[in-house]
């Protein structure tokens, strides 16, 4: 039963996508929601099996690697799959209102949205280097197309830059895949890890692959495409880009490094990756602080938050793995909430210039609250998922006596506080009577509609993650890399 459930994860959204394309628009909502909702029981079944101690695995077409491709779910991939479901479910709720299925934009949005969901699931289940390439291309192309959906020149320019860099990165990755296949005769990531051995060849091939993945994950200094792409995309798209799409490549990177990266087991490479992460944290935060637009601020915050993931490589301990996986989860939920709230404020105020936010709390309290709650998690303050992640990461850094990392982690959350509170303070500020901002009362209060509910629900979830971390961590513990014990 559990292996079949793996197939449901990919096929349900995919079938829904095909049906949405063919069926008349009025059926879209039902089909899309069904496609997404069906993955929940499937995830549940797989999770139950994994918690029961199984590794859920199915050889597609009965052809096990190296002959064919297998889908496999352990604690790590399942954690990511749950993140996918949660983010997608709430962002879909937002999209029902922001991309109504009968509108032109909605007709373009929903099929690609569903294909994106299917491909993200497929990616998390796969450990085949070439299959990962195909799913990555699928994710990149859908993401790019959805950035451009609004048709604004700035968005399309951002989409174009993302596409070009994304394709280049894919080719680096594919080249490395070719070399690894030549060397090991298999495409299965785990078998590659067993057969690769050490040596210059292995190191350089992996270095090529990692470079490609770093570009797609927007790790400083390869982040240039991200801020505009995430900042200019429509709200739900920004949310899922920051919450999921940049994470999928980091997922592959972590799998590669810890499950197949024996050849890279020297401190220097890990240190360099960690250093990139540290630079990302500081640079991204400062860049976020100086932004003048809300969505760009949130986008640069993503650049910074991705840096924390990179600290896993130098720390390389069970505690660090738990911390980083939990961080990916917490950041995903919180950042999705933040982008949705930002998009709602943009839609309501007509612009996302920060100065326009003055007094926004009086008219749009729900969205300001959602932003603030998500901000609590981003800053790593208790009680939130972000705090639990930061706590564990600090602990891991302390245990390995990485004082530099400790300093960066601490500084990172203080810098995050600067940009989060900058926004909230503006929203709480009182508009001066003479200003052109309309006085409260003359405009309808913020609607408590689906878009606001989606943002607030995700934000609340980001907080709840901090209190209910235990079950999540026990799932993560079932997906620890080889050689790490709970």
């Amino acid at each position: 039963m559990a292996p079949d459930a793996l197939a449901v994860l990919v096929f349900a959204p995919l079938v829904a996508a095909l049906a949405v394309i063919v069926a008349p628009p009025r059926a879209t909502t039902a089909l899309a929601l069904a496609g997404i909702a069906l993955t929940a029981p499937a995830l549940w079944v797989v999770t139950a099996a994994v918690l029961g101690g199984e590794v859920v695995e199915v050889a597609l077409a009965g052809a096990a690697p190296p002959l064919g491709i297998a889908w496999r779910a352990d604690g790590f991939s399942l954690t990511m799959a749950w993140l996918t479901f949660v983010v997608v479910a709430f962002v879909s709720l937002h999209a029902l209102a922001s991309f109504p299925s009968t509108s032109d934009a909605g007709r373009r949005f929903w099929p690609m949205w569903l294909i994106l969901v299917a491909s993200v699931y497929a990616l998390f289940l796969s450990a085949d280097l070439f299959n990962l390439y195909v799913t990555l291309e699928l994710v990149t192309l859908t993401a790019v197309a959805m950035i451009a959906i609004g048709g604004a020149p700035a968005a399309m320019r951002a989409a174009m830059r993302y596409l070009l860099l994304g394709l280049m990165a894919s080719l680096f990755y594919l080249l490395a895949t070719a070399l690894l296949y030549g060397q090991t005769g298999t495409l299965d990531l785990y078998q590659v890890g067993e057969r690769l051995g050490e040596g210059a060849l292995a190191t350089t091939a992996l270095a090529l692959m990692i470079t490609g993945l770093l570009v797609k994950s927007a790790i400083v200094p390869l982040h240039v495409w991200l801020p505009a792409a995430h900042g200019k995309a429509p709200g739900p798209v920004s949310a899922v880009l920051s919450a999921l799409v940049v994470k999928v490549t980091l997922y592959i990177l972590i799998r590669l490094w810890f499950w197949a990266g024996g050849a890279l087991d020297d401190g220097l490479a890990a240190f360099v990756l960690g250093l990139l992460g540290a630079v990302a944290i500081v640079y991204g935060s400062i860049a976020a602080i100086v932004q003048t637009r809300l969505k760009m601020l949130v986008a640069y915050s993503t650049v910074a938050q991705l840096g924390y993931v990179m600290l896993l490589f130098p720390l390389a301990s069970t505690a660090a793995f738990r911390a980083v996986t939990f961080h990916v989860l917490a950041h995903g939920v919180a950042k999705a909430a933040m982008f949705l709230a930002a998009a709602n404020l943009l839609a309501a105020l007509g612009s996302d210039r920060l100065q326009r936010l003055v007094g926004a709390d009086q008219r749009y309290p729900v969205n300001v609250l959602a932003f603030a709650l998500a901000g609590v998690s981003i800053m790593g303050l208790p009680p939130s998922g972000g705090f639990v992640a930061k706590w564990m990461l600090l602990e891991a850094a302390w245990q390995s006596q990485g004082w530099g990392w400790v300093a960066v982690i601490s500084a990172g959350s203080l810098l995050a506080a600067v940009y989060v509170f900058r926004v909230v303070a503006l929203a709480y500020a009182q508009p001066r009577p003479a200003s052109s901002v309309r006085r409260p009362g003359t405009t309808p209060r913020g609607r408590f509609g689906a878009t606001s509910v989606a943002a607030l629900a995700l934000a609340v979830l980001a907080i709840v993650l901090g209190i209910a971390s235990a079950p999540v961590l026990s799932l993560i513990d079932l997906g620890l890399p080889p050689g790490m014990a709970p």
Binding site: R322, G359, D361, Q362, P365, L369, V376, L381, P382, P383, F387, V388, W391, M392, L394, E395, W398, Q399, V406, S410, S413, L414, A417, F421, A425, Y428, A429, Q430, P440, G466, I467, S469, A470, L473
Partner: protein
């Protein structure tokens, strides 16, 4: 004496008492701006229920049991809510004063905007304070300590004016900076000694650590985190600036929640984590005593220079709260009792003065000291309450402040630290120097032709402004006069200290 782990009983009450105001806060926020009547009912009901629950807990604690609730927050680290006698002291203070402050705030803000947001965060602020009171280990303390920062910030910037937003920024810079150091100290402590719950006499005394430098550093890191909120010089600068907040917020910050949480944290740190003897062995008690003394004198001197009433009160708080730190730093049974009981005494006295200051500003537009002339003729009840509290602050017998100072002084003499007596005398003289002129102006000078401004609200609102101050002024007298009876704050503090100092 070797501290021993206490017997606790699993009980949901500590959690419930924390959650009551959280739910009230959420409900108030959801209700929205216009449900005024329902909001008032909810506010008062939650405050009453909370007070009742705290009383229930107090009865359990008097009966000898220690109710506790715990669950794993992070693997290996529990969130522990536990009601021991120290918790009850702080919890009953904040529950009682919260009720009073709620009444006052409803009256004070009767015309203000954004009241749903205000009372929402107001309630969450008290949730955090209760959590701090009930925290059974430093991690739990930290969690609620941060929540307190987050919940008070919106109250500080409530009016949304430029000055308020700027004050909010200063507040965050200090508190978040302090808590970053606190967190590092916490991580370090746990890395060194493993997760520990609070134990009277010091949880660190149970593990044999030969890490003098590390322990000193940890103490300093955590104490800075506490010291920011306790406004110990030079970490105090946020407090006077936060005076732009509405009067009930100032009352809350100074008497019930923020400043008190910092001082309470220092108590926990010294008595329940390091233990008085280890703190002293590490040379930290002396350092803390010096820092507290400097703060006491500095705060008083600066208060002397103020011409704004609320600023004066703020610097007075800076000075007075450090009595608590001074008491536990001096050590010995008497001084510790003096510090602990001042936790309560300073609360009731200072909140009275803020209530009155807010009332003066609302009804007469009086905000500066030179405007106080003849005020007693116009507002005799408020002026009376203010005067009682001020005299208490100076330490006039038999008011509450006298009891604190007496125990502190006696403790200093008993432990041979005579210089502390000098500090107390200097502080008392300074207190008199800045409070007595106020009292004199109010009662002895003639009233002006016209008051600077103010409004004339309904009688009910005026009652809501004046009655809370009268109640707390009454407490100031009662806690002093009845200090010797059972279950008075002094008696309770003595009981607590029996666990700390044999």
């Amino acid at each position: 004496m070797t501290p021993v782990a206490i017997e606790t009983t699993l009980h949901p009450l500590p959690l419930v008492v924390v959650l009551v105001s959280l739910f009230a806060g959420l409900a108030i926020a959801v209700l929205g701006e216009h449900q005024q009547r329902l909001r008032t009912v909810l506010n008062l009901a939650a405050a009453v229920v909370k007070l009742a629950l705290v009383l229930w807990i107090a009865i359990l604690v008097v009966g000898g049991s220690v109710p506790e609730f715990r669950f794993a927050l992070v693997p290996g680290f529990d969130l522990v809510l536990r009601a021991d006698s120290v918790s009850v002291l702080f919890a009953s203070l904040s529950a009682a004063l919260w009720l009073v402050t709620t009444v006052y705030a409803i009256a004070y803000l009767h015309r203000s905007s954004n009241r749903a947001r205000f009372f929402g965060f107001f309630s969450i602020c008290v949730t955090a304070t209760m959590g701090i009171a009930m925290a059974g280990n430093l991690l739990t303390f930290f969690v609620f300590y941060e929540l307190l920062t987050l919940a008070t910030w919106p109250l500080v910037v409530h009016t949304g004016s430029r000055a308020a937003v700027r004050a909010g920024r200063t507040y965050l810079v200090y508190t978040l900076g302090g808590s970053a150091l606190f967190l590092l100290g916490l991580i370090w402590l746990y890395a060194l000694a493993g997760p520990q719950d609070f134990i009277a006499g010091g949880s660190l005394a149970l593990v044999d650590l030969d890490e003098t430098r590390a322990l000193q550093a940890i103490f300093v890191l955590v104490a800075i985190g506490m010291g920011v909120k306790a406004a110990i010089v030079p970490l105090h600068a946020w407090l006077p600036r936060a005076m732009v907040a509405p009067a009930p917020v100032s009352a809350l910050l100074h008497a019930v929640a923020v400043v008190k949480a910092g001082a309470f944290g220092l108590v926990r740190l010294v008595e329940d984590v390091f233990g008085a003897s280890l703190t002293s062995d590490l040379g930290l008690a002396q350092a803390l005593a010096v820092a507290a003394s400097i703060t006491i004198v500095y705060g008083s001197i600066v208060a002397l220079l103020q011409d704004d009433l609320k600023k004066l009160l703020a610097y007075s708080t800076v000075s007075q709260v450090s009595y608590i730190a001074l008491g536990i730093a001096v050590g010995g049974a008497l001084a510790t009792v003096g510090g602990m009981v001042h936790l309560v005494h300073q609360g009731v006295m200072k909140i009275t003065m803020f209530f009155c200051a807010g009332t003066f500003a609302t009804l007469l537009g009086v905000t500066r000291i030179d405007q106080l002339d003849g005020l007693a003729r116009r507002l005799p009840w408020s002026a009376g309450a203010f005067s009682v509290a001020a005299l208490g602050m100076i330490g006039l017998p038999p008011l509450a402040g006298f009891v604190s100072k007496w125990y502190l002084g006696a403790g200093a003499v008993a432990t041979g630290q005579l210089w502390v007596v000098g500090v107390l005398v200097a502080s008392t003289l300074l207190n008199a120097a800045y409070f007595l002129p106020l009292i004199a102006r109010m009662w002895l000078r003639p009233a002006p032709e016209r008051w600077p401004g103010g409004t004339t609200p309904s009688r009910l609102v005026v009652f809501g402004l004046v009655a809370p101050a009268l109640f707390t002024a009454f407490c100031t007298i009662a806690f002093g006069v009845l200090a010797g009876s059972s279950y008075s704050p002094l008696d309770w503090a003595t009981e607590i200290v029996r666990g700390y100092v044999p």
